[in-house]
């Protein structure tokens, strides 16, 4: 069965410090990978998605970046954190389909990382 691991679970970082959050998926190949952020009192905002190694699409211009060095590894980074980067970060995966039109692309989520920038 497929599983998704995300760490750390909680993180407190000072403003201006770097960030690295890691997400790995097991039990599947070539997944679509996603990073979402949930700010306090808000819904989930898609930050990045990836369809393959080295292929990253950014949805929102910001202080963050993402990388996919391996097929099932997705990393969220920042060189210098801002206070506004605080939030709950979720990694997710969905199955890659090589057909032209696909439905039912259910996403599976990690347990999330609570980031507090102080």
């Amino acid at each position: 069965s497929q599983t998704i691991h995300q760490w750390p679970a909680t993180l407190v970082q000072p403003v201006g410090s770097p960030l690295s959050l890691e997400c790995t998926v097991e039990g599947t190949s070539n997944p679509n990978l996603y990073w979402y952020r949930q700010a306090a009192g808000r819904g989930l905002q898609l930050l990045f998605y990836s369809v393959g190694i080295g292929q990253i699409s950014s949805e929102v211009p910001q202080n963050l970046s993402a990388s996919r060095p391996q097929d099932r590894q997705f990393i969220l980074s920042s060189k210098k954190l801002l206070l506004s980067d605080s939030g709950f970060y979720l990694c997710a995966w969905s199955a890659f389909r090589d057909t032209f039109y696909v439905v039912n692309t259910e996403a599976f989520f990690g347990q999330g990382t609570r980031l507090t920038v102080v």
Binding site: Q6, N32, Y34, Y36, R42, G43, L44, Q45, L46, Y49, S50, V51, G52, S57, F88, L90, A92, S94, F96, R97, D98, F100, Y101, V102, V103, N104, T105, E106, A107, F108, F109, G110, Q111, G112, R114
Partner: protein
């Protein structure tokens, strides 16, 4: 373009009474629709999904949702609320178009469900 609107940011019901969480969607193509639940400081758990096979979808913990294309709605219901249902609920729309393109998984803003004893 896809979008999803959850019409209520907060719903409060008494234990044992029905629950209705409203969701409207917009999609250029036939959508896939989902409801997820998030308990405090936890990840998301899938409640149910619309697969286009049946318009009334049954999920876990007694929840169900009805897909109404004419109303572009996918409201979540439960006949009798339980204290453990208190959580944040997200309506989600996805579709994928084109080769080598990731699904655009779009979340609603969420509805916080509170249960009164």
């Amino acid at each position: 373009a896809q979008s999803v609107t959850q019409l209520d940011s907060h719903v409060s019901v008494s234990e044992g009474t029905p629950v209705l969480l409203r969701c409207n969607y917009s999609s250029s193509y036939s959508p896939s629709l989902f409801w997820y639940v998030q308990h405090p400081n936890k990840g998301l758990q899938l409640l149910l999904k619309y697969t286009s096979a049946a318009t009334l979808v049954k999920g876990i913990n007694g929840f169900e949702a009805e897909f109404k294309k004419s109303e572009t709605s996918f409201h979540l219901t439960k006949p009798s609320a339980h204290m453990s249902d208190a959580a944040e609920y997200f309506c989600v729309v996805t579709s994928q178009w084109g080769y080598s393109s990731a699904s655009k998984i779009i979340f609603g803003s969420g509805t916080r469900l509170s249960i009164r004893p």
